[in-house]
Symmetry: C2
Subunit: 469 residues, 2 copies
């Protein structure tokens, strides 16, 4: 026994960080606690149990690749279902939805080739989500750079036909709100390929939409409706985009070679994973908290949006751990297919509508597991004021900003049901460094930052449950 003990012990400390911090009964919420005391207990629980962090570790290990329709997505569904069952939520179930199924396939390659065909530079690219493949031997064509749609229009068919268009529109670092910079630049990822195809381009390369200057391509969805481009389209890393930009400034006749074998498959059946604890007074009235379970396939989807789903589960777990018995039902939803279809969000809202469920509020976390700063509010002005009155309770925990509009893509369809919507707003400094890229990994998540977001959602749910909206 003694001989094998150290090994067993080593195992046990790996999964249990909190040997000396286990929350005991003294941390339970009692009826006499005022809101400030409850907040203190909520954050203490978040900062000592590390539930979201441990769940996220498991998710990123077991299902790092979980784009809709993939095997990994199904593993992720089963994992989160089990997490909520293990936490003994009152009800846990799967809500079906059909999802698109696109896969990247084998490794993609790309090269810049000089005019005489001799010098070749390997560059880092990744197919945009939804792109068609190249031919088996790849696609090679002259490459031309544009910085904007206006530039493209000026070139017109004469300048574009038969070529690969390189959209080199930089992320505007000067904006304090990185999400605003993203919103502006991502238009080229979405609309660049069909716009280039319209003028006869045979391929499209889009500068990665990121605040980072690195060698990582950042993928993401391109337009995939009936106006989708049929030409192979890829994101190129920002460093390679700068390199290509420099080459194009001094060399003529540069070609680009692209080889990708991504593919569309038939739609698959998938699921939102839902768990809830029932309200004591109004179990039929629901407060929703969620994020999305699917993720782009280059990294592990840790910040986008493993942090959201595990943070939402953690918010509900904190209620249970502290012995808070909410008046209303608190429901955690791990939405499927946010990244390339939004089917889960739609299925959830359709079901709520069909069942005439009363959803009194919906909170979404889909901006990374970074240190939280506030909540965006999408609700009428009177309700907004009610939330803003609570701000002083949050201030000691660094949550000060309730000034922006906001909600989220997955809870968005609930808007038609007039559900007040809130979006957790973490600090945006680092989000786009990792967004849709291979470095969106668990190792780049800080446990205090992640837990602070989860606790902030629990605290918000606590107030909504207690005072209504």
């Amino acid at each position: 026994m003694k001989k094998i003990f150290p090994l067993l012990f080593t195992g046990s400390i790996i999964t249990s960080f909190a040997f000396s911090y286990t929350a005991g009964d003294e941390n339970k919420v009692s009826a006499s606690d005022n809101d400030s005391t409850v907040f203190s207990k909520i954050y203490s629980e978040g900062y000592s149990s590390w539930g979201a962090y441990n769940d996220l570790k498991g998710l990123c290990e077991k299902a790092p690749k979980r784009l809709s329709g993939s095997h990994g997505a199904q593993v992720a569904v089963e994992y989160m279902q089990q997490v909520m069952k293990d936490l003994q939520f009152d009800r846990v179930w799967l809500q079906p939805c059909m999802v698109p199924h696109w896969e990247r396939g084998a490794p993609e390659t790309a090269q810049i080739i000089d005019a005489n065909g001799k010098t070749k530079y390997n560059v880092h690219i990744a197919a945009l989500g939804g792109s068609l493949a190249t031919a088996d031997n790849g696609l090679t064509a002259e490459i031309i750079e544009v910085k904007s749609f206006d530039d493209l229009d000026k070139l017109g068919k004469k300048g574009v036909e038969g070529k690969i268009v390189f959209f080199n529109h930089p992320f505007d670092d000067k904006k304090i709100a990185t999400f605003a910079s993203y919103g502006e630049a991502v238009a080229y990822r979405w609309q660049g390929p069909p716009s280039a195809e319209k003028y006869g381009a045979v391929g499209c390369i889009v500068r990665s939409v990121t605040s980072s200057i690195d060698t990582l391509p950042h993928t993401g969805v391109m337009r995939s409706d009936s106006l989708a481009a049929k030409i192979p389209s890829a994101a190129i890393s920002t460093k390679d985009a700068q390199f290509l930009h420099g080459l194009l400034a001094v060399e003529t006749g540069l070609k680009f070679h692209l080889k990708m074998n991504c593919k569309w498959y038939a739609e698959e059946k998938s699921y939102n994973v839902i768990g809830e604890i029932l309200g004591t007074e109004h179990p039929e009235q629901i407060i929703v908290v969620g994020g999305h379970l699917d993720a782009w396939d280059l990294g592990e989807g840790a910040h986008d949006d493993g942090a959201g789903v595990t943070g939402a589960v953690e918010a509900v777990r904190i209620f249970k751990a502290l012995g808070i018995h909410p008046k209303h039902t608190i429901r955690c939803v791990c939405f499927m297919n946010e990244e390339n279809g939004g089917r889960g969000g739609k299925a959830y809202a359709d079901s709520a509508s069909l069942k005439k469920e009363k959803q009194i509020a919906a909170i979404e976390s889909d901006a990374g597991g970074f240190t939280p700063r506030g909540f965006g509010l999408d609700m009428n002005a009177d309700v907004k004021k009610k939330v803003q009155v609570w701000a002083p309770l949050f201030l000691p925990y660094g949550i000060y900003d309730f000034s922006h509009d906001g909600g989220g893509a997955d809870i968005g369809p609930l808007k038609t049901l007039n559900v007040p919507m809130l979006g957790l707003e973490p600090d945006g400094s680092r989000y786009f460094d990792h967004h849709h890229a291979s470095n969106d990994t668990f190792s780049n998540v800080n446990r205090r930052e992640l837990q602070s977001g989860a606790a902030s959602m629990a605290a918000m749910i606590y107030l909504i449950d207690k005072y209504g909206l």
Copy 2:
């Protein structure tokens, strides 16, 4: 030419991230700009030039090891002097001070040994700053664990004599303010060794003072005045501390083997590195901004406190870049020896006092290059109110908290001259994960977060210069 161009070009893009964002004359501050507009230009400049980030990269590459008195510290002095000269500050000079000189020496090793002397577990330790070495063949003794000074007192001489004391006092994760948790736990690093020695301990092991559960020892200064311990003393990583704790719970007679050859040397002459731009109306009145240039020797001192010195230089550079001609002199001070002596801070205040310099405010950055949240204020209540009136200008940039006391260790000695003092307050979530450990590296600094802190200091200096304090 064409043949070699790509190589040259590759080189040039590595050092110049900002090919498309170079600030032009349109970003210069004009007399008609209101404060809000000037703030916008300051932050834009910070987010497009990346001055602090590039300087920090250079500092961490050229002088990653720069504990006071070391060769690296001298390299760092010369580097920061050159940085300020290259930026064409009006005056750049070195201010001498004598500093203690302690070095870690060759790699340190430690093992836990079971009672029969057969099973040995390697653990991660690092000598505490100022510790004496073990004998050449190391130190081996029975190890006993205590969680607090009270525990130690209860054991007394009988329980401690001849043994190695293991202080296993955890970092209190439940506090929202990590600096408060640090302040509480660091008492064991500072006072643990002499307290153990008082009862006859022959060595001392202190649980690393960090929010992270990892295998990295986090060093730091131990008491080194006339009451300093003479017994070898080291920090142990938190994972190893947990492992040792578990072993001690079930095994008796465990020994600890420690081998370190750290050493004290004679004091060395070193320097504060100072640069300034002269005021147009009151050049004799000085606004100080600074951080400390020395750093612990395990990592690169990126957050602690390369971020502070390069951020302070960047704040001054932003003034020059925007064409802001301050009324008062803006002086950047890279203080020497904050970590294990504070000689630079004292030398600076002594000089200011001797020369009867009028220092109208001092700002220190020594809490890491993380996303800023506010400024701590150490000044009388009326002056504090004046600063707090400016809060709305900062709010759009995420700087909302002016509620704490604060200043800094290096500007602290200016308190006797009644200088109003401000401390930049970044988010503290990640600081102690890296603090005094081998992972305090440039790669763990985010450029937007770092630049935001530098810009915030520039903005604060702008207001102090314009409105006074």
